[in-house]
């Protein structure tokens, strides 16, 4: 090794394992980042809970509805009025039916701000029920013991 170093003026350490590991790390962080960014929104402050179940990923893409504290719903990244949600859900239902799935197969993830009105959360659930969605998940921030 010592002889080699004299011959080559550039780097002669074998970088391959380091680069492998680094790329693996990058890939890992990239995937975790993408996942969280799609779901988590800074406009929502979830209420906290200590016993909520870990988030499960189902094979069918869940429908995420985020309720802001002013009563607007974030749907596809855009705030829309709660009253207009029915039309968007109708679209969602049509897309599901076109794909050959019943709306009841999908889970509706309700990410509601802790300061929003309970009545609004119930309104969202009722709107979804009218379109045939019946599995709901109330998402909270998990505070482990």
């Amino acid at each position: 090794m010592g002889r080699n170093r004299k011959k080559i003026s550039g780097s002669d350490i074998d970088m391959t394992p380091m680069i492998d590991v680094t790329f693996q790390l990058i890939t890992f962080f990239m995937f975790t980042l993408n996942f969280s960014e799609a779901e988590q929104d800074q406009r929502i402050q979830l209420p906290t809970s200590q016993v909520a179940k870990p988030v499960e990923n189902s094979d069918i893409e869940p429908l995420t509805l985020q309720l802001m504290d002013d009563g607007r719903v974030i749907y596809n990244g855009e705030p829309v009025a709660l009253a207009a949600l029915g039309d968007y859900l109708e679209n969602e239902k049509a897309v599901m039916l076109a794909a050959g799935k019943e709306p009841s197969a999908a889970t509706v993830v309700v990410r509601a701000d802790g300061r929003s009105r309970t009545g609004d959360v119930q309104q969202i659930i009722r709107n979804c029920q009218e379109k045939g969605f019946d599995k709901f998940t109330l998402r909270t921030e998990y505070r482990g013991p």
Partner: protein, 199 residues
Amino acid sequence: MAKRASKLAGKIPIDMTAMIDVVFQLLTFFMLTLKSVVVEGDFNIRMPLGASAGAAEDDPIPPLILKMTATPEGRLAAVQMGGKTIVGPDLLGELGSADALLEQAMAAGPGNQGAMKQARRAKELTAQKLTAALQAQIVDTFGNDLSRAELTELELDCDPGLKYDHVVSAITAASGILKGDEVVPLIQKIKFAPPKKAK
């Protein structure tokens, strides 16, 4: 360059420095952005439209009804279970002041992060107190037979104006007991009462 590459045949001929620089920059970036991710948890509720209209199908055990009323500001005014008030005025006052503190901090804007953090922490602690108080009452109704809880349905009858985090505290209290690191499941079937007509 070509001459040099041929001299080093068998070794790494490319200058890796630039690539490694970029790779490390990327790594740092992704690592730092990862920090802001919070762990989330779920509560599953299954509510088909038909069932929400009432009518306990073939459930022999009557549902446990938790009634939460709100002040005009959306704070918790009273909690009743089976017609009995179960949260004392002291705790309600504490909850109210924690809410007020947080609202103040929110109104002050993002400038004062310290006050915001403190208010949130206080809010969380009072919410945990509420959970503990509700849980004691819920466990009490089942006595020694906690297995009965899994068959029982909890119906949440809340004022529409009530702030949602109180409801989550109630759901937390009802759905499981924290024993050490483990969660002993309690009531699994949770639903909202059909809303009253008056808005």
